[in-house]
Subunit: 544 residues, 2 copies
């Protein structure tokens, strides 16, 4: 299935020089540009036709072609052949996340100019860990961080004049993704709580066991809605806090964290032991599964009263702030001590780009690291206060994207997503065969196939009966999602939600994320039509 | 200094559609390709002339142009203007890491095809966190990981046939960079040591304080040469172990870890407290400052005897394994429980790409995370065992690069670096004004300006006098590096090394990293000439 090895290729200095020096001659220059043309447009056929994980070739079959584990001594292919192979043999088996029919995940179409910008970043190959390998790009990064910080926190002109290019303070950091952003936030919260004092050099230096002894604590907890992203549990695990100490709080019927339960939990924790420390309370602005937004203002109040760090995970919902119409949904975000936003989600940037913003420009001082060769004390190296070391200049992409799109451009995307999701919800409600499970607040909703007669049965069923029916429905919806995905015309994802916060009542739902501006209500109707068709022709018998 | 805002631009749906749909017409298609031409070649002028951080415009002056923190409502620029601005106004103030005269850091020229490959990755925009957003690319990733694993561990055909496409096992993971790779290795080592047992659900779940109680431990230590990368301290800090528990071991005169001191330290730690756990021993394969390689075989033996995890940080030196001539320098690496290698270093890939390899394909099971919407139990999603969530397809770049370069192509680069560094060392020794501080083993060396009469004085000086002279030399070498950097013709970095492992004897040295195949001994002679010239004309008086 692959282009045959060109065994006449050899690795020698001539060839090496050719790949390192940018070709200057008109002919070779034209060749290289032709490759770019093929990359930008050769991928197009694939991008137009494929959608889901088609099983024309099953994964298992496919993987049989990728079992050779020897690196060849001499080159196997020229660049032209590599590109051909990628276009002809790899792309058709990749996932076309840019299709408007691909509405299952938070990965979607990106504006084509993003590809140009990524190319520039690669060609410059700056390393943001230190000024000596980035210079002006470090300055651009500080500026674009201040722009987004201002959108979140709306501090004064004077504040931003003081901090935008201040080499001692940090309004935010670029990181690999939302997971690293959440980890960094909790890392800083942990270190601030267990700061150095007499006989104790701080948790970062002496470790967590010594910190607990020094502060007479035996447990730290992090409180978040049970819809919180799993990266919060992972962060607590990594940080030594323990992931079982991320305490999932039940949700209210509107899928926002239940404030009463939160308060009761806090009271209970305090009663159980005075040696439990409430390290952080996390609010979600755009839950991964339901797109819902917690009551951030109330959470901020509670966090302040408990002297806990207030973190908002707005990895998904952050850019809603662009929309004059809908930004109110995030009211209270400016009260957060820290905010996670992903660039590769609703900023429509290429993988992988996350960000963390800090209310207090000195908040990250507690995670600073120095060395003799980079990040020297007092330098302006941006790597001083990041988890990572070497790091590409994604900030340059965001800076350019803001200039090309304007706040209004992003607002149009946000409004389209929210309003199309609302229209989609109306359509789901209108169709008898479907049950809307979580109505959209932002641009995410969940639903399932649940024929009207079954719904009637469910309404009057006792617990045991209800579970039995739901199990059958779960099987149906699981199969439905799989069949549709494998058919390759459209793609919704699935997840399992709890009904009434009860872990025994797991309901398999279909999940839609509307972020592609090409995804219209017409397309979503086609997705529902296909699901109805699959159900009626293949799955109907399973519900009886 | 920047292109003026085009205030006639507006954000509207027409414009949005244009940026999301790949232009199909011949005219607009030609325009987009023209942009790529400008990106690939417009950057060329800059890449040909600039080198260091020129101070024609000082950083402070420069940063004054980047203080506007308001995001404009409407678009400020079209893509064409953004590209022009990047080429005309940003690139000239960036750092030309691809110049053969830029020999100061581990960031260098990359083959131009890497830019094409990065463009493909951006255009496909696959997300490796899960199969549903990557499909075949997950399979390619598993294959290329097996290839590099095989280069390190040389297991049998049968082993690789079993694991290359095995969805339950993990030979390695792609991560953001060396820091994340080292963190992941120590995270896995920590979790393996404090695994679940009766009454204890494991450290990842219950936290570090509970783990120490369950295992009757009060301290974990990690032992590494004092030349170990600072990311190891950072990792121990993040993981709750405490960065002061990364114990720096003195080095022998050859800058490798001193095995006797290591053994003494282990004996001392055990005598001090039976409740100290030796969690890991780390060997360096290419120290950041000196390029030296620890005696890996001996370290492996010691680690095994102490039941400690043996990690090798080969972020820099790993690709030396391509060289038939020099791979012996890394003997013992196949005994490591885990190995860090960076893609953006000696694989010559664009920022940011790190990797971690595991001897035991089940070693990362202890850091696995699942959720309802991605990384479901039993799925083949690669995000199950990585620190990060969403992640771009850098594996595709490495896979293609191996095919284009061949093992021999990489070997040529490795051999060139090692042999040019050796020639550079001979030249430094030949010149009276210089003192070679750490001779190269791989392709990194350090030296300083130290005139012959001063060297004579140093040889016969007592401690106090010696320190005084060295302080003056430190000032001279610090200034020298700065003046040369600011002149913008060439760039070496500087660091501070300890003489005789004594923390009071910090010696400022100039540091060269020879990885650019265009860097010849002729160019390095020019670098030395310039340094002699700067010293004689501006700094001579400072040593007297």
């Amino acid at each position: 299935m692959f282009v045959k090895d060109q065994s006449d290729l050899v690795a020698d200095w001539d060839r090496l020089f050719r790949v390192f020096i940018r070709p200057e001659g008109q002919v070779s220059r034209a060749t290289l540009i032709k490759y770019m043309d093929r990359i930008l447009y050769g991928l197009n056929d694939f991008l137009k036709t494929n959608v889901g994980i088609t099983e024309a070739v099953s994964l298992k079959e496919l993987s049989k072609n990728f079992t050779d584990t020897l690196i060849h001594d001499n080159p196997e292919k020229k660049l032209a052949d590599v590109i051909t192979c990628l276009i002809d043999n790899i792309a058709p088996h990749a996932v076309n996340v840019s299709s408007p029919y691909f509405v299952g995940h938070m990965t979607s179409a990106i504006p084509f100019f993003m590809v140009h910008l990524k190319t520039i970043v690669a060609a410059l190959n700056q390393n943001l860990v230190k000024l000596e390998t980035s210079k002006v790009v470090s300055i651009v990064e500080k500026q674009v961080i201040a722009k987004i910080h201002r959108m979140i926190y709306k501090h004064s002109d004077a504040f931003y004049q003081e901090h935008v290019q201040n080499t001692d303070t940090t309004l935010g950091v670029f990181v690999e993704g939302g997971t690293t952003a959440n980890l960094t936030a909790l890392w800083a919260a942990r270190n601030a709580k267990f700061h150095p004092k007499a006989g104790f050099a701080g948790i970062e230096s002496d470790g967590l066991a010594a910190a607990y002894r020094a502060y007479d604590i035996d447990r730290c907890v992090i409180l978040v809605s049970r819809l919180g992203h799993y990266s919060l549990r992972k962060s607590a695990g990594v940080l030594g806090i323990g992931n079982q100490n991320v305490i999932p709080i039940k949700t209210a019927p509107d899928n926002r964290v239940d404030i009463n339960v939160l308060k009761q939990t806090i009271t209970r924790l305090k009663q159980e032991s005075p040696r439990t420390c409430i390290l952080a309370i996390v609010g979600i602005a755009g839950a991964t599964e339901t797109g819902t937004v917690d009551p951030l203002e109330t959470l901020a109040e509670i966090a302040q009263a408990e002297n806990a760090h207030f973190h908002v995970d707005a990895a998904w919902g952050g850019p809603t702030l662009f929309s004059k119409k809908y930004r109110y949904l995030l009211n209270g975000i400016s009260l957060a001590d820290s905010v996670t936003i992903d660039g590769h989600k609703q900023f429509y940037m290429p993988m992988s780009c996350g960000m963390l913003y800090l209310k207090d420009p000195t908040a990250l001082d507690v995670i600073a690291y120095h060395s003799n060769y980079v990040n020297r004390m007092g330098s302006v190296d941006l790597g001083i206060k990041t988890l990572s070391g070497s790091r590409e200049a994604n900030s340059l992409i965001l800076d350019c994207a803001l200039k090309i799109m304007g706040a209004k451009g992003y607002a149009l995307l946000i409004d389209h997503g929210i309003e199309t999701a609302a229209a989609f919800a109306r359509e789901i409600r209108r169709r008898d065969l479907f049950e809307l499970m979580t109505p959209p607040v932002l641009n995410i909703l969940t639903y399932r196939i649940c024929p009207p007669d079954i719904r009637k049965k469910l309404a009057s069923a006792d617990d045991a009966e209800r579970r039995k029916i739901n199990e059958r429905l779960n099987t149906v919806n699981r199969r439905l999602q799989q069949i549709q995905r494998e058919a390759g015309h459209s793609f919704v994802s699935r997840t399992t939600l709890l009904q009434n916060n009860c872990s025994e009542d797991g309901i398999v739902v279909l999940r839609s994320v509307i972020m592609n501006p090409m995804t219209t209500i017409g397309i979503l109707n086609e997705v529902l039509d296909e699901q109805e068709e699959i159900f009626c022709s293949q799955l109907k018998d399973l519900v009886e």
